[in-house]
């Protein structure tokens, strides 16, 4: 993890995983430039002074550094005052078969886990009530009856969270039972979870904060939107502080304004563009990307031109890091001691081809429009095309002093002229 002085070591320092431990933050974290600064410090103040179990929305593009910022926030909150839970759906759920009931059951297990792991002396009734209910909703009725009135007492010793989480994540049959039973009892689950939350907070005199991360990992954009819009009421019910991180296209839905008012506050993590809406380079932001590289490897390991090429190609943090990692691998494969401009170009081409392959003519047409108008607002409430482009990062939205603006992902810029030509020919 220390700063790399050889390409072989640099490869692992350009990991697309968010920064999480205090050591990693110390080594790798680079403060964002002021115009695109992280809203985390404001969110932190809001959390520290919250009197009620506030719910926050934390929005950003995929790969803009949301998880890293959430990790940073949790690291900075005082351990003596907060019990911090970070809950990633990608680690526990089958994201291709995602359902709100699986989500709430896993959220409740996180709370239960706190009691068990930290050996918090909560009133037995709360634990028993939670365990009995959870046992009931995770088992088929016949089995319960047999066990309940027979000899077997599976509940003694509590619920094995790891086993149950794994079952929910990987066993479709378990998910089916849970979903059927929770269809009418989700309120019961939330109520019992809230009872546990209240008791934990009373006994520890600490507040629970849950950060729900990776909702943007849901396989389709509309999956996370559906989850958000159909379950807003439920998302507000846990009686602890919660930060929900959602992909930003959620906010481009016309319904967003109606719903967002139910949350205590919405925080948006801006992109860090390398060029402004007029195509002029933004020095401060370019320096930010350069600093990211400098923290992770000695700059002698990359040609100046290569670094410039890489920086101007993306304008998004995770994509930039992936590009660097790929460039390191290509450089090593080419037998180079440092990353050359050609290595970077090869890595960019590889990424670009991936994007291009996924785009059909309707998408391309809309991308050309976005590029020309610098606007990616939905044309109608049903404008799925624009939302898909933003979700896939083929189009990216930024914000500057003049407001929101959008463009095609810088990676795809070289393709724009070719796309236009293909339309003109027809």
């Amino acid at each position: 993890m220390p700063k790399a002085y050889r390409l072989e070591d640099a490869y692992n320092n350009f990991s697309s995983e968010p920064i999480s431990s205090p050591d990693e933050f110390r080594e790798f974290y680079v403060e964002r430039p002021k115009p695109v600064k992280s809203p985390i410090s404001t969110l932190k103040i809001s959390i520290i002074h919250a009197k009620k179990p506030e719910k926050y929305l934390f929005l950003g593009f995929r790969g803009s550094g949301k998880s890293t910022e959430i990790n940073r926030l949790l690291n900075e909150l005082d351990d003596e005052k907060f019990i911090k839970i970070k809950f990633s759906i990608k680690d526990t759920l089958d994201i291709s078969d995602f359902d709100y009931r699986d989500f709430f059951i896993l959220l409740s297990l996180q709370i239960y886990n706190v009691v068990k792991n930290q050996k918090i002396k909560v009133k037995d009734d709360f634990l028993e009530d939670f365990e009995r209910f959870l046992y009931d909703v995770t088992h088929e009725a016949e089995k319960i009856e047999e066990e309940e009135y027979g000899k077997k007492k599976e509940l003694e010793g509590g619920i094995d969270i790891k086993v149950l989480s794994a079952k929910i994540g990987s066993e479709a049959a378990t998910r089916t039972v849970i979903r059927r039973k929770l269809a009418t009892r989700i309120g019961d689950l939330i109520e019992r979870t809230n009872n546990l939350i209240g008791e934990i907070e009373r006994k520890t005199e600490k507040r629970i904060i849950v950060a729900v991360d990776d909702l943007d990992k849901l396989t389709r954009g509309e999956q996370s939107e559906k989850f958000f819009y159909t379950n807003t009421g439920l998302l507000l019910q846990p009686k602890c502080l919660v930060i929900y991180t959602f992909p930003i296209p959620l906010a481009f839905n016309p319904r967003f304004e109606n719903v967002t008012g139910n949350f205590s506050d919405t925080f948006i993590l801006p992109q860090v563009p390398v060029k402004d809406r007029h195509g002029r380079e933004i020095k401060e932001n370019i320096d930010f990307y350069r600093a990211i590289v400098e923290r992770r490897m000695d700059l002698s390991l990359i040609d100046g031109a290569a670094l410039k090429e890489a920086t101007l190609a993306t304008g998004k943090i995770r994509e930039f890091i992936i590009l660097l990692r790929s460039s390191v691998a290509i450089a090593l494969a080419n037998g180079n001691e440092k990353i050359t401009e050609n290595d970077v170009i090869e890595a960019i081409e590889k990424l670009r081809r991936n994007f291009d392959r996924e785009l059909d003519k309707v998408h391309i047409k809309r991308l050309i429009e976005i590029h020309e108008t610098k606007d990616a607002r939905s044309e109608s409430p049903d404008d799925q095309i624009t939302r898909e482009l933003l979700f896939s990062l083929s189009a990216v939205e930024y914000e500057d002093e003049e407001g929101r603006w959008a463009d095609v992902n810088p990676l795809l810029h070289p393709l724009i002229e070719r796309w236009k030509e293909s339309f003109t020919k027809k």
């Binding site: 009734d125 028993e128 009418t184 009872n195």
Partner: protein, 472 residues
């Protein structure tokens, strides 16, 4: 004393008695449709006291023919014929073919049929029907109160048994004490009320619901769903206490608020309709009750699916009302639907299933299928005892119902044992003045009377008179 039980029956039997008297020496066929069927035995007893009678319990066509050959027919004033509850083709054919032989016997014949049997006579033994001397409808809808249905056991929260309810109660008491949040206090009070209600402590439940109403009105004003919920819960507790008119007042207030705040197509509004329907059902206004249940069902189907936890309860209530208006097949159909949908939502070992089994037992009792009724009651008793424990009013109600069935089967010792069990639990949980307790005292007295234990019968009748005076 006996008049307390029989006055209504006697009044209705008067024309029949006159006809028996004037039919002496003639083989007139006097057909009687008796409902509830459990009254057949009472009518037999009564007629036996008035006339020199012989009772024929018919099971097969041969029974009819052999009894008609009975030489003692010439020595009696009336032949009383009891038929099985469900019509059987062979019996109907025998009646139809051998109708003239009744006339030849020169003694009036009183034929006691259940309603389904009578309908089958009209349809499938038309010659016998047209050969009748007269036809009497000995139907006493109010007597059907004998077999008590149990209102669907639902709760706004998950529980499986008494242990869960007691734990929930402890949690609510604790939260009421430690919580500084007023919203949470309202919820804790409601939880205390619901738990007490389900545990059969209706006075305590009412007290908690009233406190919840007071606090919620203070916090949210009148037009708020939580205020409506408190009114609704008070209504249900009053129902359980037998104070139906007062209950309707509260339930209608809840409906008014919910309609105002949430509009017609809302699950809470459906629940209000269902609960009002239940009260009308308990008041004996079954047609009105059915309309409310249907309304509730319609909304539930519109806004949700069969998974809605309220739906089995609506089916069950519909079953109870149809049972009371004599539409037994429809009642069974709804009870079965309740059982089916309830199983998916609550599981098999749940008070809801027990209540439905009890209600099915009731309907088979009304149909006169006593063995089947006992089977269902036993299932209900087993599940209620497992889930609510043995000292719950619902357990008592099943005991009382079983007692009635044993009494109808002529097993009076068993009947007395069950009535005693019911009475002990009712007195302990609901008190002496509750309609259920008083009803069971009546049943026990009747059983002693039928057994011929006059002193015990009179002792209970005196107790009853004292209770009726004291509990006015």
């Amino acid at each position: 004393m006996e008049g307390i039980f029989h006055q209504k029956i006697i009044d209705k039997l008067k024309p029949l008695i006159v006809e028996i008297k004037i039919s002496q020496g003639h083989g007139d066929i006097l057909l009687c449709s008796v409902d509830p069927p459990s009254l057949i035995d009472e009518i037999v007893q009564f007629l036996k006291q008035k006339f020199k009678a012989k009772v024929f319990d018919v099971r097969t066509p041969e029974d009819i023919l052999n009894n008609l050959r009975d030489e003692s027919l010439g020595e009696i004033e009336v032949a009383i014929w009891k038929f099985p509850p469900s019509p059987e083709r062979k019996l109907l054919n025998t009646l139809n073919i051998h109708r003239e032989r009744f006339y030849e016997s020169k003694v009036p014949h009183v034929m006691l049929f259940t309603r389904p049997f009578m309908s089958a006579v009209i349809k499938d033994a038309p010659d016998f029907w047209s050969y009748r001397g007269d036809f009497h409808e000995l139907e006493f809808p109010e007597m059907k109160e004998d077999v008590e249905a149990i209102p669907s056991v639902g709760a706004p929260f998950w529980f499986r048994d008494r242990k869960d309810l007691l734990r929930r109660k402890r949690i609510a008491e604790y939260l009421l004490e430690v919580s500084e949040d007023e919203d949470e206090k309202v919820k804790a009070l409601m939880d205390l009320g619901y738990s007490d209600h389900l545990l059969g402590s209706y006075d305590e439940a009412l007290e908690h619901f009233k406190k919840a109403l007071e606090l919620s009105r203070k916090l949210y004003g009148e037009m708020h769903p939580l205020v409506a919920e408190s009114y609704n819960a008070i209504g249900l507790a009053l129902n359980a206490k037998g104070e139906y008119d007062k209950a309707i007042e509260y339930l209608k207030k809840a409906l008014e608020i919910d309609l105002n705040v949430m509009g017609e197509s809302h699950p809470e509004v459906a629940k209000d309709y269902n609960d009002i329907g239940l009260t009308y059902h308990l008041k004996g206004e079954h047609d009105k009750a059915i309309k409310y249940f249907q309304k509730a069902l319609e909304i539930k189907h519109k806004v949700g699916g069969e998974d809605d936890p309220e739906i089995p309860s609506i089916y069950s209530n519909l079953g109870s009302s149809y049972a009371r208006i004599g539409e037994h097949d429809k009642a069974i159909e709804y009870f079965q639907k309740a059982l089916e949908t309830g199983k998916g939502i609550f599981g098999e070992i749940h008070p809801f299933a027990a209540a439905t089994y009890n209600n099915l037992g009731g309907i088979y009792h009304i149909k006169g299928e006593y063995d089947r009724a006992i089977q269902y009651y036993q299932k209900a008793l087993e599940i209620f005892s497992k889930t609510f424990g043995s000292e719950h009013p619902y357990v008592a109600r099943v005991y009382d119902n079983m007692g009635l069935t044993y009494k109808s089967r002529g097993e009076l010792d068993k009947a007395i044992e069950h009535f005693k069990n019911a009475l002990r639990i009712f007195e302990k949980t609901l008190g002496q003045c509750h309609p259920e307790t008083i009803g069971t005292v009546k049943h026990l007295a009747q059983a002693y009377r039928d057994k011929g234990e006059q002193s015990e019968f009179e002792r209970l009748m005196a107790k009853l008179a004292e209770l009726e005076q004291r509990c006015k």
